[in-house]
């Protein structure tokens, strides 16, 4: 493809036709801030945080929705750009109840980070209106707090473009607009399938993982990357951990899911900390399963397996691997059955 060049903050930069100014800048290592832009969705240019100054253009242009052109001269942080961004951010902050002190998103909020970067003072005209903001807490997975919503539309594009679940949209045009689930019902009454993409898309604290509320902010948690324990898609997870407990789970930006998850992967982890988990070996004594030590349980199993192998031969002993244990464990199990017991009666539930 033909390469062309433009000037970015005084540097000559090559680009491919069809690229947006944002893409060219990111490729060149120049960070242009964004709010409404999101990977794998169509840019809307609606938040106007990414505006840049292009020589000869009458107005500032949104970098995410403007195609790069040959010989453009672009400034990404000129005083005019910074002033415009400050204004946009001030309006966003004034549009709701942005009290960072008690917000779940404190520390990972993109609006907060930009307000800091551009030193936007807390807007003097930000007083809560008479009308209370919409607040929804009638399901056990997602909380919607519209006192924080900045109408960037990312949740809608996450739902309709990244997941294609089509459960939410921007409703009520004009100044009354608001994110609505079908017929402006609550999530639980709507077509929402609780994939949680909208929560992961939200740059502020308007859509929240209910399980994580009050259980630690970004800097108090440790992220661990792992693989989903449910279906065979094998989505890559980022598990947020605090004090040896899972706080919440998000999708990692890797193959095969690139951030997406379904309801099971995101909200189905409670079994790990469940009080009914087995925590001691059980041995049947007088007909009853009775708690015993690991020593006793393993000695018993090893002894019985040896006896039965001697008495009936290895052909009368079987072992089942599992789709829910790791490769290493499956390998070890078949090795144990084949090399130690001497049987090929080894299988797992692939068929079921």
């Amino acid at each position: 493809m033909a390469e062309t060049t433009l000037t970015l903050n005084g540097q000559t930069v090559a680009f491919q036709p069809g690229q947006t100014i944002l893409e060219v800048a990111r490729g060149a290592g120049v960070e242009i801030p964004t709010l409404c832009w999101m990977k794998d969705t169509l840019p809307t240019g609606s938040c106007r945080v990414c505006v840049v100054e292009v020589e000869g253009a009458r107005t500032l242009l949104p970098a995410c929705a403007t195609q790069a052109a040959a010989n453009q001269v672009i400034m990404t942080e000129s005083p005019r750009v910074a002033a415009a961004r400050r204004m946009v951010l001030e309006l966003a902050l004034a549009s709701g109840n942005h009290n960072c002190l008690i917000c779940e998103a404190n520390g990972e909020c993109e609006l907060q980070a930009l307000a800091y970067r551009y030193q936007v003072p807390f807007p003097a005209f930000a007083t809560p209106p008479d009308q209370p903001y919409y607040f929804e807490d009638n399901n056990s997975m997602i909380v919607r707090d519209f006192s924080k919503c900045i109408m960037c539309g990312r949740c809608v594009r996450g739902c309709c473009e990244r997941q294609v679940n089509d459960a939410i949209a921007i409703g009520y045009r004009g100044s009354h607009n608001k994110i609505v689930a079908k017929a402006d019902k609550t999530y639980i009454e709507s077509d929402c399938v609780f994939c949680g993409e909208c929560v992961q898309s939200c740059p502020v604290g308007a859509l929240l993982d209910k399980n994580a509320l009050g259980r630690g902010r970004a800097w108090e948690r440790t992220p661990v990357r792992t693989t989903c324990p449910y279906c065979g898609v094998g989505c890559q997870l980022e598990v947020q951990v605090k004090d040896d407990r899972i706080v919440k789970i998000s999708g990692a930006d890797l193959e095969p899911n690139h951030g997406r998850l379904c309801v099971k992967g995101r909200f189905g982890w409670h079994y790990v900390h469940h009080p009914e988990r087995l925590t001691t070996p059980l041995l049947r004594k007088n007909g009853e399963l009775t708690p015993v030590s690991w020593e006793e349980a393993l000695d018993f199993v090893a002894g019985r397996l040896k006896d039965l192998k001697e008495k009936y031969g290895p052909e009368q002993i079987g072992g089942w691997c599992s789709a829910r244990i790791t490769n290493e464990e499956n390998y070890l199990m078949q090795k144990f059955m084949r090399a130690v017991i001497g049987t090929n009666h080894v299988d797992h539930c692939a068929r079921l």
Partner: protein, 527 residues
């Protein structure tokens, strides 16, 4: 899968058959729906249930349960008749085309329609959509394999893909979606009665010698073992005396579950290793508490052959041990010491004896998963299989004929029953039924039925109904749903209190021994 999940967005046509992708593999469904919405791909959904993905389909084919072969053979009939197949590909890369041609000649759209219930015009249209796409993908799941003709179903899909030159190309392929997260890995690692890891046959002397040397043992058994579905009846008949089960719950998941429970009770030793006390654990002589995958290190292999890391996020609950430690300690006690210090050490051994995993290391996996075959550390992994040649050289057409399911509806049991999973639950519910959100969305078993059937039987939405088959009965609430099609009821198998597998038929596919979960005959009455 022959191809990768990400490639689906580049397919021009996608045929989804026997897979309720939107509920069972939602993140794959997202890629399919994106292909339709943003890339203009033509989606064909063939399924006895009008599932959610149908909303995105150009064509919805509603075949009777167990008639996939007739449907696909009918499509191939049209493709060959109208010369829509990839003649160059067929000539260069395949063999036995004449036999296929002969077999499908008998499946005129009219005859295929008679067997499958799909209108002949739709079979013609589907054939054209699939064959005329530059590249087309086939996605299938248990709706194809859980039949007495499961193996033949898979062959017929492979025939269709090869006929149109869709195997070994980006965006194409024949793509089974694995139901449970590490089914692929369990197979790869030799969790099967006939092979060691990497599908090296136990009957092959060289493979045995290699394993004997690696493991420091002599005379590994050379006979092919029994599958799970054959072990259960063997136990029932007193031919097997001891069973060591990890992470499975046959008392709920087995076809004809009542029969499985009776068999388990005959064992002289039943050891169950799991994270909860399951229905099967309650029958055991010994129960060993294992750690969850969030509590240990290791790897899983997903449905597209991608090996990815499992990392310890939290320590094991006090009293539990990771499965690899339990097996090691047991082995040591039986006189064969296993002294692995970490899962990584086990993985290093796997690499040595498993050619397709040889190039994968924990170090490399830090950057993300790698798809096998990956023979060397320099190899990038394999995104799609059969690129320039098939494993056996030429791709072989295996023509297959339609056979009726083992059990068909009749006067006494007039409805088809098909079973499966819900979006909000997983397998026997051991994990998913402990998450408040999942329980909130899917609290109990519902018998999904069409309005027409319900009306005829005097059943209203939410009524308690008794579902009976030749093997057993369950009681659950009815759910009248637009997804159901008249004549077929659907029951999810997650719920112990209404275990769908009390009803299902244990009839097995003769080759791969998969039970026919997807079709049996039942009667439904108001309870």
């Amino acid at each position: 899968m022959t191809n990768s999940i990400g490639e689906l967005e580049d397919a021009e046509c996608i045929l989804v058959i026997g897979s309720n992708t939107n509920e069972n593999h939602p993140v794959v469904a997202a890629r399919i729906k994106r292909a339709v919405r943003f890339r203009g791909a033509n989606l064909i959904v063939a399924d006895p249930r009008r599932q959610d993905l149908v909303k995105f389909a150009k064509l919805y084919l509603r075949q009777y349960p167990g008639t996939d072969i007739a449907l696909i053979n009918g499509m191939m009939h049209v493709i060959i008749r109208d010369n829509l197949y990839d003649a160059a590909y067929v000539a260069e890369r395949t063999e036995n085309f004449e036999a296929l041609k002969q077999t499908v000649a008998a499946y005129t759209p009219e005859r295929a329609s008679q067997i499958s219930g799909v209108p002949a015009a739709d079979i013609e249209a589907a054939a054209r959509l699939y064959a005329q796409a530059r590249v087309a993908s086939i996605v299938y799941c248990m709706g194809i394999t859980q039949h007495t003709v499961g193996t033949d179903n898979v062959k017929t899909l492979a025939n269709l893909a090869m006929l149109c030159g869709n195997v070994g190309v980006w965006g194409g392929g024949v793509n089974p979606l694995r139901g449970q997260n590490n089914v692929q890995g369990a197979c790869d690692m030799g969790g099967l009665p006939n092979v060691f890891s990497g599908y090296q046959p136990v009957t092959d002397e060289a493979a045995r010698k290699k394993m004997e040397a690696a493991w420091g043992v002599s005379s590994l058994p050379a006979w092919v073992g029994k599958t799970m579905t054959d072990m259960v009846p063997a136990i029932g008949a007193g031919e097997m005396k001891a069973l060591y089960i990890i992470g499975e719950n046959p008392a709920l998941s087995d076809p004809d579950a009542d029969h499985a429970i009776k068999a388990m009770q005959k064992l002289e030793l039943l050891v169950v290793q799991d994270i909860f006390l399951t229905e099967t654990g309650k029958l055991a002589h010994v129960v060993l508490p294992a750690a969850t995958s969030y509590e240990k290190d290791g790897t899983f292999t997903n449905t597209e052959r991608r090996v990815a890391r499992v990392r310890r996020c939290v320590p094991p609950l006090p009293g539990c041990k990771p499965d690899w430690q339990i097996i090691s300690e047991l082995s040591t006690r039986m006189g064969y010491p296993m002294t692995y210090a970490s899962p990584e050490e086990i993985f290093e051994e796997i690499r040595k004896v498993t050619p397709s995993y040889a190039g994968i290391t924990y170090q490399r996996l830090e950057a993300g998963g790698i798809q096998w075959p990956c023979p060397t550390e320099e190899h990038p992994g394999t995104v799609f299989l059969h690129k320039d040649r098939f494993a056996r050289g030429l791709g072989m057409f295996f023509p297959v004929e339609h056979k009726d399911p083992a059990e068909m509806p009749d006067a006494d049991y007039p409805l088809y029953l098909t079973t499966g999973r819900l979006l909000y639950q997983y397998h026997t519910g051991t994990m998913s039924r402990r998450a408040p959100g999942l329980v909130e969305k899917a609290p109990e078993c519902r018998v999904e039925m069409a309005a027409a059937d319900a009306q005829r039987l005097g059943i209203a939405d939410g009524d308690r109904v008794r579902v009976r088959s030749r093997r057993g009965e369950i009681i659950a609430r009815a759910q009248i749903s637009p997804k159901a099609v008249a004549g077929t009821v659907f029951i999810p198998f997650h719920f112990a209190e209404a275990a769908a597998n009390k009803l299902t038929n244990a009839a097995l596919d003769p080759v791969c021994r998969i039970p026919e979960y997807k079709v049996c005959a039942v009667q439904v009455q108001k309870a």
